[in-house]
Symmetry: C2
Subunit: 410 residues, 2 copies
């Protein structure tokens, strides 16, 4: 399959700062891809805390189940990731593979296997080439270095056309802390989960429970508000590690006002990564922002936004640069959420096209048609029921998606 | 847009019998299409009963809302249908249009407007050309004739590539009765509703409440078990009229054993029509049957089947003739229904590919790959939890779907 960089890709991979207490290394294990790194080890100094958001799929992968079992401890010394094979639907042998890989990492770091988290992404249902990964992993612990972000972001890619990374700074009680992360994903991307894989880190010193609360809140507004194709991966994993190297005042209550800036920075970081995932949506030619207001609740607004963002008819219309707002009406109607047909209003590119249940009088499609030709599409929907608001990001559905997915395995 | 007949189409439109007490007529009203019939009038003799299943969309069309208001009476003398314009999201003027059209029909038949049901299908959000339809409708009542099935099926088409019809016979208490119907729909087809438009009739003599119970039951197993793209129309309407001309014993209890044959025939008729809708799915190249068993309930089985049938990744894999069963695992997992990864089994084309949570030992893809090259794909999934069973029908997702929907309006 020809790998053409997404037309919506950022110009370049951003310069990401080192996070004190975090080191990274990658290697080419030959799991599926030839001559490219496909294994990544992330090592955290002892004393680091960790939080995570995992797929709610009932057929979750073996590494997801491993993480689900370990995350309550709130501690991690390492995260081991491979691309090319999801180790999902691989039965007991898949579980054994995870255990053997994390034991190998633990052995080389001198920590407990429970302190090693794991993630895999790629084909479902094929046995993990465990021996090959173990052999690759063995040398990695000696190779870790701070700031190896770009090669890490590359090693976790599958059908991604570019590596994804972002960083932010925030202050906690007058002390600056750093946040940085990487993500991957371009198909099988759907709400209610993290994305396929995303790893974020900070040097802030935050207890695991607090970290989990902050991550869950930020994930709902970011990774859980994007969709490419409505298909939910068996492997969705978002992990957030905190090395505690920054010397800020101790905080432990999620409502502590000194966390306000950090909270914003974390949400901003995850939104950036999540949008990069959407911009690499398989076959995407348009980046679409859907703002829903006037819904019964924030949750209702998000579900309406996702109903629009998941609609094949809305997505193909946008691919065709057709301002077919009737399909947006349809998608609002099928969401199952409360809506009042006669109060619904829709704007595209800032131009009101429909209000009070019908097309605006004297509607001139010219500016809207022009907006549709751009690569960034903005849709505003007011449902006219309440005060719930949410924003959802998605991409269009093109021939590229079909081409990529009709011959992914071959 | 070039209209190429679906490769999954039946050889020809079936010969459908007349239904005593039912007459049909069509005309070209020039609503959207040139030189083809786009208005259809169906006239039932007085004393006929009627039942219906309508879209649950919150942005339902004006004719759907009209039907919702009239159906509780259980009586109908006529159904007036147009294609090319859905009269959806057209505000108060859309309601006025329906009222004026049904009043015109009622006037020409000498019945009450409440006895005239209406359905529209086509573009959403454009005002109905009411005057043109009224003018067309005026002459229609004089033109109705028994057995005009094929032109009726043609008049209700939009992006359909062939007209759809079916008929069955059944006996009630030793007397033969006839059932026949037509349907349309090829995109914006999703579960939990009727299809876009389907009209079935019988000469049986059945009270409206009984008719409604039988229709609801059959619709759940047929029209509510198909999906093309997961998008739910604002116009979905399934109406079933009974003229009462057949001289069978009186029945009124849905549990009456004398209804057994009729019940089977109705389900069979609707399944035939629903499958014809799937076979005309936009861009479809494969007809897919998904049998789910071992689920917690029948409803759970259907939701799992629809999760598979709606998955863009499953549908594109099938378009690519790729037996990528890992995506079926994913779709089961995302359905939200109870499933046990380690008990899940999957067969494709009758060949077991995965069981007990992993690929079958020594799996040989050859016969499965051959099956994928055919135009009829069979998928069996056993969830391993309970005894709930359901069958869902869908089609693949191809470049054709994108081409049709990226330039539908232009």
């Amino acid at each position: 399959m020809a790998v053409k960089r997404s037309p919506l890709a950022p110009r370049r991979f951003p310069a990401l700062p080192e996070i004190a207490g975090l080191q990274l290394a990658t290697a080419a294990g030959g799991i599926k891809y030839k001559e490219r790194p496909d294994v990544c080890l992330m090592v955290l100094d002892s004393g680091s805390t960790v939080a995570g958001v995992l797929t709610r799929s009932k057929t979750a992968s073996a590494p997801v189940e491993w993480c689900r079992a370990q995350l309550p401890h709130g501690r991690a010394r390492a995260i081991i990731v491979n691309s090319g094979n999801a180790n999902a639907f691989t039965g007991k042998s898949g579980e054994t593979s995870v255990r053997r890989v994390v034991e190998t990492v633990a052995g080389s770091l001198g920590c407990r296997p429970q302190d090693v988290l794991a993630a895999s992404t790629g084909v479902i249902g094929q046995p993990l080439p465990t021996e090959r990964i173990i052999k690759t992993v063995k040398g990695l612990a000696r190779k870790v270095r701070p700031g190896e972000w770009k090669s890490a972001a590359q090693a976790i890619m599958t059908t991604d056309t570019y590596p994804k990374g972002a960083a932010r700074q925030a202050e906690i009680g007058g002390t600056m802390v750093t946040l940085a992360g990487i993500a991957k994903g371009s198909g099988m991307i759907a709400p209610d989960m993290g994305t396929m894989l995303a790893f974020a880190f900070t040097d802030a010193r935050l207890p695991a429970e607090l970290l989990q609360a902050l991550l869950r809140e930020a994930a709902d507004k970011t990774f859980n508000s994007i969709t490419v194709d409505g298909d939910t991966s068996t492997s969705d994993t978002l992990l957030f590690g905190a090395t505690g190297k920054a010397r800020h005042p101790r905080v432990s209550d999620p409502r502590d006002p000194r966390l306000a800036d950090f909270r914003l920075a974390l949400e901003d970081l995850l939104r950036d990564l999540a949008q990069q995932v959407v911009r690499d949506g398989e076959g995407a030619s348009k980046f679409i922002t859907i703002n829903v207001s006037g819904a019964a609740s924030r949750g209702a607004a998000r579900r309406i936004g996702l109903s629009i963002g998941n609609s094949p008819l809305v997505k193909t219309a946008i691919a065709g640069e057709d301002a077919n707002w009737g399909r947006i009406v349809m998608a609002v109607g099928k969401s199952g959420e409360r809506a009042d047909r006669d109060r619904l209003s829709i704007s595209i590119g800032g131009v009101r096209v429909a209000e009070q249940g019908e097309v605006v009088p004297g509607y001139d499609e010219t500016p809207v048609a022009l907006h549709m030709k751009g690569s960034t599409i903005e849709i505003d929907v007011d449902v006219g029921i309440g005060r719930g608001k949410a924003t959802v990001w998605t991409c269009d559905l093109t021939h590229g998606y079909i081409s990529i997915n009709a011959d992914y395995r071959s």
